[in-house]
C-alpha cells in the first residue's frame, strides 16, 4: 500500500513542479518569477524526501538541507536586488 501511495504522491509533486515551472516561464513580472523559483525549490525538497522513502536510502537529507539553504539565500538575494538595486551595499 505504501508503494502505491508513494507513486501517487510522486506524480502529484511532479505535476506541482511542472506548474511552478510554467509560472516561471510565463510570469508577467519579475517577482512572479522569483516566487516560482521559490516554489520550485520547495517542491524539489518534497520530491527528494519522497524519493528517499521510495528507495529506502537516508542519503537525501543532506541534499535537501543544502537545497533549502541555497534556495532561501537565492530568494532573499534576488528580492534584495529588486528592492535596492544592489545586493551587498
Amino acid at each position: 500500500m505504501l508503494e502505491i501511495v508513494i507513486l501517487i504522491a510522486l506524480a502529484l509533486v511532479a505535476a506541482a513542479v511542472a506548474m511552478s515551472f510554467w509560472r516561471l516561464l510565463i510570469g508577467p513580472s519579475v517577482p512572479d518569477r522569483i516566487l516560482a523559483l521559490d516554489t520550485l525549490y520547495i517542491n524539489t525538497i518534497a520530491m527528494l524526501m519522497l524519493l528517499g522513502i521510495h528507495i529506502g536510502s537516508a542519503l537525501f537529507f543532506e541534499a535537501a538541507l543544502l537545497i533549502a539553504l541555497m534556495g532561501f539565500i537565492g530568494t532573499v538575494a534576488l528580492s534584495k536586488y529588486l528592492l535596492r538595486g544592489d545586493i551587498i551595499e
Binding site: 510554467w22 516566487l35 518534497a46 524526501m49 519522497l50 533549502a68
Partner: protein, 136 residues
C-alpha cells in the same frame, strides 16, 4: 497501522504541495499568488518530512532527526522570504486587483509615484495650499 499513518501523511503532504502550485498558476495577481505556495511550504513539505522521520525512525535502530532540522529551517525562512518578495513587489509597484478602501478612493486617484512626486514638490514649496499627504 503504521502503514496507514505514513500513507495519510504522505498523501496530505503531496496534495498540499499540488494545491500550492495550482494556486501559483491559477490566481490572478501577484499578491494573491504569494499566498498559495506558503501552504505548500508549511503543511505540504512539513507533512512529508514528518512522514520521512517516522519511516526512518521505525525502520532503522536510532531516531532520525535530520528532517526535523529541515522542517524547522523551512518554518523559519518561509515568512522571511515571503515578506521580502512582497516588499520588492510593492517597491516596483506591481498592480493589485484588490479594491481601494471606500474612505481612501479620493486620495488614490493618482498613482503612488505621482503622490510621491507632489509630496517632494510640496516640501520645496511649503506655502502651496493643496494638501497631498493623506490624513491618517
Amino acid at each position: 497501522m503504521l502503514d496507514y499513518l505514513l500513507s495519510f501523511l504522505i498523501l496530505t503532504g503531496a496534495i498540499f504541495t499540488f494545491i500550492g502550485s495550482l494556486g501559483l498558476v491559477r490566481l490572478k495577481d501577484f499578491y494573491t499568488r504569494l499566498h498559495g505556495p506558503t501552504k505548500a511550504t508549511t503543511l505540504g513539505v512539513g507533512c512529508l518530512l514528518i512522514a520521512s522521520t517516522v519511516y526512518f525512525s521505525t525502520r532503522d535502530a536510532g531516531v532520525s532527526l535530520h528532517e526535523i532540522l529541515i522542517t524547522l529551517f523551512l518554518l523559519i525562512t518561509a515568512p522571511v522570504s515571503a515578506h521580502m518578495l512582497a516588499k520588492a513587489a510593492l517597491h516596483i509597484e506591481i498592480p493589485s486587483l484588490a479594491k481601494i478602501p471606500e474612505n481612501k478612493v479620493s486620495e488614490y486617484k493618482k498613482t503612488r509615484s505621482e503622490v510621491v512626486k507632489q509630496a517632494g514638490r510640496q516640501e520645496v514649496n511649503p506655502s502651496s495650499t493643496e494638501t497631498v499627504k493623506p490624513d491618517v
